[in-house]
Amino acid sequence: MRNKFTTLSSTVVPLPIENIDTDQIIPARFLKATTREGFGENLFRDWRYDKQGEPKADFVMNSPIYKGQILVAGKNFGCGSSREHAAWAIDGAGFRAVVSSFFADIFRNNALNNGLLPVTVSETMLAEIFKAAEADPATELKIDLEAQTIEIVGTSSKESFDIAPYKKQCLMNGYDDVDFLVSIRNEIEHFEQR
């Protein structure tokens, strides 16, 4: 049973870079663990820390003013490797949703399978979020999964977003696919006989 996702209101961590690949999210040299824990501390490792392991002041996650449970990133977020460690790292660093105008397919599935909600917004909305967060780091987004809406709190900027109905149910109820698939093993066996 995973954590349930219903609504989320939070300030954001803006990362207005396009094509952020999973090697940036979690470099390959940190993929050597055999458990799912502990990846959060190496999220965006080489952008976040210098060679001596000291935080780089110009990276947004090290900024004292940008905190929150929603990561907002440029288009084509999560491209590259299929490593689910990328979703584990984002989740492990305390994020519950990622907002972008475009997600890579495998990353989107991996996020959904870990209760981390990928929210696809229009280019216009994404630009508005970046602008609002830049002007006021206290800007909050509200994500309502049931209604499938996202809004910049206190403004008229509001959009609906898509999510596969089955995945929505999984997130809202904390179900996962393995339980479901194991429950239909008979049907799968029957399929194999055809």
Partner: protein, 464 residues
């Protein structure tokens, strides 16, 4: 009026849920040491067995050393991952090809090579380059670890059906242009998100004329344009490649299989959600200048300028060039090369080593270049030795290493030092991909060979 992709996908759909998620049956699952341990841990936690162990095959590849493989792995975490894979396979009755054994290698090289990968199959692996197997006419794609667990638990995964896309390459390829140049060209035109949400079929006369291994290079990099996977309809080239391979059907079964496989093609009136056509004659040897595989250009061209880019694009472009230490508008020819890496699931097969070896034969490696020639599998290594390629390489100043993923993602010791430039035949030039602060220029084996003997980015056609 169905596409090849539709035919295979639909015939493997056990059930479609409300809203369109499909329960997709998986014929073959490949696993390796990096993305499987958490999946097995999940099974253990749930107290369930692997559903169809005979349909799963394992090979450690990502973080194994490419020298002295007879010795224990010195890096403790890598050793632990490899040992964990072996334990999990033993516990669940899964076939594994251990390090140093004759079938070991990069999982996407050994699947086709052993005949485990066959036309019409659905294939998954916790690795985005699983798309390689699509070259044999399969629906093959990379998945995350939760999905690895699903497939182990039920031989199925839940998946939305991607849209279909066809990319046609028509005409004849120019001299010195190889399949790596085709795929780098396509990605440079469509961008790293150009195929996202789609499953791509590669077609056209230039694709048909390619060897099986050359086709694998193309399908391998489908993911680099965001596509869920890539595939090529099976034909005589496919059947000739597979015939007699260890796990390919034999005798009457072979004849029946070929009859079945021959029907695997998109109908003439099939409609694709997206279709693009390129002229093979427009493709030149390619090289990348930036930090994603879409940032590539014909080797004789200059790096693009930012004039026509919007603000968001410019920020990303500037960041990439600054990382690479390049400037907009500069020529690529003549740029200094410190390292050359030949290998990976993209270009680590015997034809790649042959192309490289024949090019450097009678020439000498530039003193300023460190070169790593890494076969994609033990079998490729063996062939390279038996065919005399190792000797040719040795005489030209190159050394053949042992198989593995190596410097493609630098999880083992094969790391490009900070700030150094590497011409790599692998698939990704992301920041730090080949080691922290390493700078990667992706290219095919001929461009790599030309760089290795000159020490700078060189058009291989000038030395052919």
């Amino acid at each position: 009026m169905n596409t090849l992709f539709d035919k295979i996908w639909d015939s493997h759909t056990v059930r479609t849920l409300d809203g369109g998620s499909c329960v997709l049956y998986i014929d073959r699952q490949y696993i390796h040491e990096v993305t499987s341990p958490q999946a097995f841990a999940g099974l253990r936690q749930r107290g369930i067995e692997v559903f169809r162990p005979s349909q799963v095959t394992a090979s450690p590849d990502h973080n194994i050393p490419t020298q002295n493989q007879h010795l224990p792995i010195s890096e403790p975490q890598s050793a632990e991952q490899v040992a964990t894979l072996e334990r999990n396979c033993t516990e669940h009755g899964i076939t594994i090809f251990p390090i140093g054994s004759e079938r070991n290698g990069i999982i996407h090289v050994i699947g086709p090579q052993t005949g485990l990968t066959q036309p019409g199959m659905t294939i998954v692996c916790g690795d985005s380059h699983t798309s390689t197997h699509g070259a044999l006419g399969c629906v093959a794609f990379g998945i995350g670890t939760s999905e690895v667990e699903m497939a182990l638990a039920s031989q199925c995964i839940l998946q939305s059906k991607p849209k279909s896309m066809r990319i046609n390459i028509e005409g004849e390829l120019g001299k010195g242009v190889c399949s790596k140049d085709i795929i780098l060209y396509i990605i440079s035109k469509l961008g790293t998100g150009g195929g996202t949400g789609h499953f791509v079929e590669f077609a056209g006369s230039a694709i048909r004329s390619l060897s099986m291994e050359a086709r694998m290079t193309i399908c391998n990099m489908s993911i680099e344009m965001g596509a869920r996977g890539g595939m090529i309809a099976p034909d005589q080239t496919t059947f000739d490649y597979l015939k007699g391979r260890e796990f390919a059907p034999k005798g009457k079964d072979w004849d029946a299989a070929v009859e079945r496989w021959s029907k695997l093609r998109s109908d003439d009136d099939a409609v694709f959600d997206k279709e693009v056509t390129f002229d093979a004659a427009d493709i030149e040897p390619m090289i990348t200048y930036g930090t994603n595989p879409g940032m590539g250009t014909a080797i004789s061209n200059t790096i693009p300028t930012t004039e026509k880019m919007d603000e968001a694009e410019k920020v990303t472009f500037d960041k990439a060039l600054s990382y690479m230490g390049f400037k907009e508008g500069e020529p690529m020819l003549g740029k200094k090369v410190d390292y050359v890496f030949v290998g990976s699931c993209t270009n680590g097969r015997i034809e790649d080593l042959r192309a490289f070896a024949h090019f450097v034969k009678g020439k000498k490696k530039a003193d300023s270049v460190t070169a790593w020639i890494v076969p994609g599998s033990k079998e490729v290594e063996k062939m390279a030795i038996e065919e005399g390629l190792q000797e040719i390489l040795h005489e030209a100043g190159f050394e053949l290493r042992q198989p593995g993923c190596s410097a493609c993602l630098a999880m083992n010791e094969d790391k490009i030092p900070a700030g150094k430039y590497c011409v790599a035949t692998s698939n990704r030039n992301f920041e730090g991909r080949q080691g922290p602060d390493s700078r990667t220029m992706l290219a095919g084996p001929l461009v790599a060979a030309a760089a290795a003997v000159t020490g700078v980015v060189t058009d291989p056609r000038e030395l052919l």
